[in-house]
Structures are given as C-alpha cells and as structure tokens.
Amino acid sequence: MKQRFNIIESTCVPLPMENVDTDQIIPARFLKATTRDERYFGENLFRDWRFSPEGTPRDNFVFNRPEFSVEPSEGIHQILVAGKNFGSGSSREHAAWALAGYGFKVVISSSFADIHKNNELNNFVLPVAVPEDFLQELFDSIAADSGTRVRVDVPAQTVTNLATGSKVCFELSAYKKYCFVNALDDIDYLLENKDRIQEYESRTKKILKI
C-alpha cells in the first residue's frame, strides 16, 4: 500500500535463519487468490512454520512466543530481522503482500534476494541491508531484551540499534527514497512518459527488424 515513510522506531521480531525462501513466507497453496487482499496473505504469513496442519500455533516458532506474538502496531513489532539471503526463490509478490499484511514496515537482513527486494520496495515494505556484524549484534540485543528498539531514518538512510547505539547507513536509490518519502510508485512514473516510449519504439524498429 502506498504510504509515506520518514522515521520508523519500533521493536522487532527476530528470525535468525538464513535463506528464508518465499515458499516459507507464503506457501503456494495460498497463491490462488485473484485479489490483492493483504489481510488474507498476512494471516498466512509463514503459515507452515507458525501453525501445524491442524491450525494450532507451533509454540517453538518465534512469532508464537509470548514476547513476540503481539501483532504489529505503531512502534511495536513493525520490523522483521532475518538472516542472510532473505526472500530467495519464487518471484511471488504475495510474499511481500503477506509481510505488509501482517504489519511489517521494515525488514532488516544482511542480504536480500533480488526479485523479492524489488517486490518489497513496490509494496512500501523497506528492505534494509546491513553488515553481518551489525545484524548479529542486533540479534544478540533482541535475545537479551525482546523490547530492543530500532530506529530507521529513511531520509538519512541510517538504521540504529537503540540498545547499543550502533548505527549504520543503508542503500536506497535517490529515486526510491523519493518514492518512499512521497508515497509514489513506479507506475505513476511510467505512465507519465509515454512519449519517450513511443520515440524509443520508432527508433529501434529500424535496427532490430523483429
């Protein structure tokens, strides 16, 4: 959902696992929906890790532990912190819809799979890539105190572990930052430059012949 980003300060939900693939974020059987109902996808986020086949919550999964089970709201659990190569595998945007639908506004990891990163950006979930040692320290802070808060400053492109004061910069193109701060998406941009597209088409037809 298009929304303006400025500074987000929140507690986190830790998922210290690597290579979390989009089949885990939202299993294929939930992809049969024909609408973009983020609430539906959010309810089924990490479905098979959160629930048994009978639908009972699995106590050992972090989302079900009492200190993290409260659903995200302003300042609470709006940040997911995950191991490296987050969002690998399938291109399903449903994974980004599920994260947004659950209430996450930011995902922090040491690396993201390319397609999933774009899907997050296109759904106003901010992927924040941080160095491995910053990530490890953040996991340690959350393990020591589940109320650890993190501050993500979008205009300044910095992320701060408020428990330790550690602060790093993260990458975000000037264009995407403008989109996040002003709640604009790529389609808005593309629809405004049809002339250039037509000019490109007439220019290249002569070369490619196909």
Binding site: Q24, K32, T34, D48, N85, S88, A96, D114, N118
Partner: protein
C-alpha cells in the same frame, strides 16, 4: 569491450532516472494465472489498457490438472483463477493459449518452443524461472506482480542494472552427466546466493556442446544461484533450434535476424564484474539432500559431516537434515524413494523424456514408487508419441500425464504426502514445496529414472 549483457540491456534503455533505476523496454511479457490477476485488476482500477497487447502472451500452467484437462477443473479455487486469466486475456485483447490448445504448456517450455523467445530480446514474466529463456540469447528475468502491471501499462519496467558474471564450464561432461548436474554442481560450489545481484553469461566448451534443451535447463536454474537471470550467446545450435518455429521470423526476415543475432556475443576483451571457471570433467551426477538447491552432493557421494559445514551454516544445516530425516555423513545411494517426478520448466522437454526412457527401456517401475511423468507442453507430448517413447515408458509401467507445472510446486492435485521422499527433476527442494511435509531430492532425468526403476537413490551410470 562490452559484454553481451551490456549490449542487449543498454540497447533497451528508454531513459535513465537520476540516482535511480533505468527504464527498460520489454519485448515480451508472458502471463500465467497465478501472478497476473492483481496486475489486471490494477489496470482496471487505473482505467487503462495494455499499452502493447501484441507483445503479451498468456497461458495457464501452474494450477492445471495433469489428467482430464478436457473436463471441468475440480478444485473450484483453481478453476476460478484459470477462468480469470482467460477472461482477462479476452478483456485486454491478449493472445491466450488455453489449457486444451495445442500450443499450451508451461510458459518457459512454450516460449522458446513457439519461437516467441528470440535472441537479443528482453523477456519478463511474473515467475522467477523466466531466466530459462536466456538460453536463446535473450535477457530474461522474473518479476513481481506490480512489475507485471508496469509492463502491461507501459511495455517498460524500472530496474537497477545488475552486475555481470561469466561462468565458464570447460571440457567434456562425463557419461550420465547432464546440464541439470552442471547446475546443481555450480550451486553446491557457489551457494544459492552466490550470484545474487548478478546476471550470468554461461560459456565454455561444455556449455557450447549442450543442446538447446540442456541450455534451457541450465539457464532455468540461474535463479537458484541467486542470479537475476542467465543466458548463453546465440550460435548455430540456437539458430537451428529456432528455425521454422511458429513465431520465428521466416524468409528474408529470418536471414536478416540471423545476421543480427550473430553479432550478439561478448567482445573478446569484455570485462565481467566476476568470472568463475569450472572443469566439466570433475562433475558427476548430482542429487540434493537438504532444503535448498545448493545442498547437493554426488549421487555416489554422501552428506557432509557437521565439521565440514562452515560454523555459521550449521544451524540451518541441522534444521534441513531434521526436516529430511537424514543424518550427517549418510551415503545417498540406497536411500528409499517413494515418488518420482519427471517434468517442470527445468526438465519437462523432449530430451528429458528421451533420457528417462533410455534407463526405463527393458526395465520396470519399482512397485513401491509412484511416478508422475509430466511433459512440459502439448508439443512435447506430440514429440513423445512421434518418437514412440510412450510405448517404451508404458511398457515399463509409467503413465504419461498432461502438461503443467504439476508437482514442482503442487498447486494442483499432484502433491507428495508429508514425510515421503520424492526424487524430482524440478528446481526447488524447499520445505513443503511439493506438498506440506514433502521431502524433495533434486536430480536429473537419468537419476530420476534410476530411482524410479530401483525404488532407491541409484547412480544412473550403473544402469547405462
């Protein structure tokens, strides 16, 4: 000193956004039923049409049953998604290859097979395995649904240009070693994030020697290395494959196209951001034991011991083995197999069925094994019959199903039950991928056939 990737990518740039992505023109958009409905809905809510409908092709593949395709689809939710694609294609005036159309099949099998995917093109689809089409010498990559909507609305997409990597495989592949084994070997070496941020050009004599089918398999698995896509410069193999196909240029246009396609190669002094070389002779038939495609070993090999795994990966390794109910150090050969799946955009082409039949001929499916042989398209079905492979496979106790994605991601009825082991020619062994609780071992069609006739993991070279 340009790479082929630079040449194709740069020739498709419509504009550059200051401090941001590039606006890339797209030559082909493919749509299937799962990742397109919300994009069409987006167009409707904005009140716009497809900008270049003639460049968009739709076909259902993910949800389709692999039996009784002429009858109504039993699962009402799947049926609604399939119907939605057909209705959307009609409403927006797009070419549609319906489930019973002779041109239907898995998009990544059909695109090259129909001559829709051609050298020098930019090709996208809401599907990560779009990388497959790179085998014809195109820049092809998977995108999300919002991006599908962008392409529908403007025939363009905004993308940061990935870095460029070349993977060379030099030498000759040994007996029983296929493109699938090459890909599983590369993933074992560089991991599933080894190529994240890159577009990969495959080169080297072992790649040049591959058939078009083999190249499609290799490029298909690029995404499993983390790469956005992978491609192979077009050559005589490519031209011979594409000539005479339904949408390939013909007559004078063909000659002109080939003349242009021959220029599509990386310059001799091209500089890649990263380059890796593998020795083909070191690659053996491969199989996976874990829950990501990088967790592979030789079929005749064993699972690593805990001490052999880097300390930071040990938790994930232990979790994977626990899901698979395997143990560190286990030999792969002899492990019990309950299901075998031949098919998917990875290995659902005619050459894959020939390979499977070569092992099955004169043998019989093991009693304990349930086998799903699912061709990648109706054209592949036609070829199977034309070559008489159906008789060989049926005599060996196998049934040939109708085309679709099937048990690769189990969106239809073809689900592997919880706890069961499936040797699968598909592309992902993630937890629950082939059905909740299912355990997947990725391998080549030869290794899948060897498992199907013996009921256990078997080195196919012992049956050749």
């Amino acid at each position: 000193m340009n790479t082929l990737f630079d040449k194709i990518w740069d020739s498709h740039i419509v504009s550059r956004i200051e401090g941001g992505p590039q606006q890339l023109y797209i030559d082909r958009l493919y749509c299937h039923e799962v990742t397109s409905p919300q994009a069409f809905e987006g167009l409707r809510s904005r009140g716009i049409k497809c900008f270049r409908p003639e460049k968009i092709f739709c076909m259902p593949d993910h949800n389709v049953p692999t039996r009784d395709q002429d009858k109504p689809v039993r699962d009402p939710v799947s049926a609604r998604q399939l119907d939605t694609l057909e209705a959307n294609a009609r409403e927006f005036g797009l070419e549609y290859f319906g489930m019973t159309d002779r041109r239907n099949g898995i998009i990544h099998v059909v695109g090259p097979e129909r001559g829709l995917s051609l050298p020098g093109m930019t090709i996208v689809c809401g599907d990560s395995h779009t990388s497959t089409h790179g085998a014809v010498g195109a820049i092809a990559f998977g995108i999300g649904t919002s991006e599908v909507e962008m392409v529908m609305a403007s025939q363009c997409i905004l993308q940061q240009k990935p870095k460029s990597m070349r993977i060379r495989v030099e030498g000759k592949l040994g007996k029983g070693v296929s493109a699938k084994d090459v890909a599983l070997y590369i993933m074992k070496e560089i991991s599933t994030s080894g190529a994240t941020g890159y577009f990969v050009e495959y080169a080297g004599s072992a790649v040049r020697d591959m058939s078009m089918e083999g190249r499609l398999t290799l490029c298909n698995l690029s995404i499993e290395m983390g790469a956005r896509g992978g491609f192979i410069a077009p050559d005589e193999t490519t031209f011979a494959y594409l000539k005479g196909r339904e949408y390939s240029p013909s007559g004078e246009a063909w000659d002109k196209a080939v003349e242009y396609w021959k220029t599509l190669r990386s310059d001799d002094d091209a500089v890649f951001d990263k380059e890796i070389v593998f020795d083909a002779s070191e690659i053996a038939p491969m199989i996976t034991y874990g829950t990501n495609p990088g967790m592979g070993t030789e079929v005749c090999g064993r699972i690593p011991y805990m001490e052999e795994v880097p300390p930071q990966d040990r938790d994930s390794f232990a979790k994977s083995l626990s899901y698979m109910d395997f143990h560190p150090g286990d030999a792969m050969e002899g492990k019990k197999v309950d299901y075998v799946f031949l098919g998917a955009c990875t290995n659902g082409r005619i050459e894959d069925f020939r390979a499977f039949a070569s092992i099955s001929a004169g043998r019989h499916k093991a009693e304990s094994v349930t086998a799903w042989l699912v061709p990648g398209s109706r054209e592949v079905v036609r070829q199977i019959h034309a070559e008489g492979l159906d008789r060989i496979l049926e005599e060996a106790g196998f049934e040939i199903r109708q085309p679709g994605c099937s048990a690769c991601l189990a969106m239809n009825e073809d689900k592997v039950p919880a706890g069961k082991y499936c040797v699968s020619t598909s592309n992902r062994n993630f937890e629950g991928r082939q059905g909740p609780g299912a355990r997947t071992l990725l391998a080549s069609p030869l290794t899948a056939a060897a498992a199907a006739v013996t009921g256990k993991v078997t080195d196919p070279r012992t049956l050749m």
